[in-house]
Assembly symmetry: C2
Homo-oligomer: 415 residues x 2
């Protein structure tokens, strides 16, 4: 049984036109389907129609997650599930999320064409607001389905204009009646574009995702003292910009040291200095620290070592105060070895070049992992894996291969 | 002969109300007398009237510099000159510039009260646009008077709205007819607030300024590559923010090393990263480097060592490009030892606590130093010497002492 590569590619293109815009920075066609906007609603209606056209029984739950169920021969067996999301960041591409949803759809279309009946039911899904780009909390729908968030918490979230999740669900017609809490599936497998450079750089056709790394974000407020760059002796300065620079350099030394494992990643992505003038010593800097680590203990060690470094820096630079406020924190997630093994067996059968890979980004699968054996298949991205950008791209062949592997994995799991 | 401390203080307060505004950041009364605006014109008319009331022969030159001459007994002797500026930055205080002009005025008032006739003529002056805050070139009037700029160059400068210096001089009635090129005075001495923390921190009553340090400004454009903070391995990053941090840390190591003398000052005052998001590796940073050094050779060495470091960093961080564009450069200026000695003798006679001090900021006196023996007297500032800010402050006692020293120095020089 073979998935239809062209049909998959056409569906990706068709959904990619919903919420599309001409991106000035890249000269390319981008996607803006922020969760629960009109564009997202149009995408939802299109995909729901596709679910219905292939004969799935569709249900929408109270947080807008939309499931399509294909019956199995054993009515009592737990479902095998696959899905992802169709919302995007404001400057998104065609693959992030969409590939997982339309890949699962292509699996079901292929099963329907072949008239195959699996023992277990197969459910495919798109979850609400995976990106968190509008309401501030990512994996919103899957976290609600899997119990990390209550539906009341999720409904109450507001966007910048004050619109609530519940109000927007109602407005776009996706405030469903199905219970939001998911009966644990037998297994969950999600197909996704890597969103990073590793698979392409290593010449791999696909990746078996071993888990999602821990994430820790801090916003640092560094308070020093503004001073005239010409008249103030070095020893009388309290340079908040220098303190930020030292922290950035130290974080990178920590990552390079190997003391926190080889998977530690550090980024100071944002830095705002004030008054931000050539001849004034910075009084104040607000900057961010983004730490990632596959190992929770190593992450905790890095966090506390950095905190200790802030205090050391305050002693070393009298008059500097550094305040670190945690703005995000998730523990690492390990995907089920049994699911990884099923995926691996299919890859080996096809002779594809593959490697195990840890996900740097968050995914709905990490929420599902809390209630059932879960796993993910990555397809490589082009252009060094750029994502959240109209340049995001994976080839038709890579997408079709990933979908074929998904089909066979779901078939194996549904026996 | 004693200057009148109260009269000086009242004049400072009266001029300080011209162009005054209520500063929200400090809750204090600030001064905004940008060069050649209506506020500056009002200040000019007030001070010119004071010049006339004390019997000075006033002339305005073609760049708006305004001189008041008090005849001496020897008509052929070169003049002894003192002055400064009355224009301010947009958020200025009452002392920067104004103290030098009104201190010189108080000297002449004191001479007039005493009926003293000096051998040499005494001229006091306020020079046009010392700050450069409106037309972009500082020491504009004194540089034109002393030959570094032609009057045509100066006239042609435009502010953001396109108004020219010449047009604005004409509009406010200060496009004079006196030749702008100054006959070299016998000597020039300028009183000024320190604008830095050194004298106050050392418990000094006043300072003898030895010169003005060299200034070198660069704008750095660092180009790297944006990347996902979660998915991009450390070794594949081109982090423009990290490169900027390393440069900032290196500059400070250079200053601390002593290899460029003890007077090297370094500041990265401005840093703008893009896209400036917590979870995106910075693609691009624009930042500034401000170097100061009293020693021109040490400055040149620091400049070339930094340039070499940029190339080293490009090799060390493949994919990073660093472009440094010089945006300002002035050589150091040494004030005449003979003038310093005269000032020092007066300080010793009064038993004041004083020290020699290098000026970190630029002043009209450095232009005058190109055509005659020049010197400066600093009075300490409060609040760590903050300046270009409504908190700028010097006590009545310190201002009066500085003015008394100026009086006696000018008397000595005019013998």
């Amino acid at each position: 049984m073979r998935v239809d590569s062209d049909r998959l590619w056409r569906s990706l293109a068709e959904l990619g036109e919903v919420g599309a815009y001409d991106d000035e920075a890249t000269g390319l066609r981008g996607v803006c389907r922020l969760a629960l906007t009109d564009a997202d609603a149009a995408g939802r209606r299109l995909v729901r129609r596709w679910f219905e056209e292939v004969g799935l029984a569709v249900r929408v739950d109270r947080i807008g997650n939309t499931y399509g169920r294909r019956a199995g021969s054993d009515a009592d067996a737990g479902v095998v599930m696959s899905g992802s999301h169709i919302d995007s960041v404001p400057t998104g591409g065609r693959f992030d999320g969409a590939l997982g949803v339309l890949g699962a759809l292509e699996v079901v279309r292929t099963l329907a064409d072949a008239g195959t009946v699996t023992r277990r039911p197969i459910e495919i899904a798109f979850f609400t607001d995976e990106e968190g780009a509008r309401f501030g909390t990512d994996m919103l729908g899957s976290a609600t389905a899997c119990g990390r968030l209550s539906v009341e918490q999720a409904w109450a979230l507001r966007d910048r204009d004050g619109s609530t999740v519940r109000g927007e669900l109602e407005r776009i017609g996706f405030l469903g009646e199905a219970p939001e809490r998911l009966t644990p599936p037998h297994a969950y497998v999600e197909l996704h574009i890597e969103q990073g450079p590793i698979l392409e750089a290593a010449g791999m056709d696909a990746g078996i995702v071993t888990g999602v790394q821990a994430i820790s974000w801090f916003e640092l407020t560094i308070v020093g003292r503004a001073a005239h760059a010409g008249t103030t002796p070095m020893e009388l300065r309290r340079d908040a910009g220098l303190a930020a620079a030292r922290i950035n350099v130290r974080m990178h030394e920590m990552a390079a040291s190997g003391r926190y494992g080889s998977g530690m990643r550090v980024t100071m992505g944002r830095i705002d200095a004030s008054p931000n003038r050539v001849n004034i010593v910075p009084r104040n800097v607000v900057c961010t620290v983004d730490l990632r680590n596959p190992d929770d203990d190593a992450m905790a060690a890095a966090e506390s070592d950095l905190e200790r470094y802030y205090r050391e820096l305050e002693r070393d630079m009298p008059g500097i105060r550094i305040e670190a406020r945690q703005t995000a924190r998730t523990a690492s997630v390990r995907f089920a070895p049994a699911v990884q093994s099923v995926i691996e067996a299919r890859m080996q059968a096809h002779g594809v070049r593959y490697q195990r890979i840890l996900s740097g980004a968050g995914h709905d699968a990490q929420e599902l992992a809390a209630i059932c054996p879960a796993g993910m298949i990555f397809v490589p991205g082009k252009h060094d894996g750029i994502s959240h950008n109209p340049r995001e791209f994976s080839t038709q062949e890579a997408c079709a291969l990933g979908t074929q592997l998904l089909l066979e994995t779901l078939l194996d799991l549904s026996r």
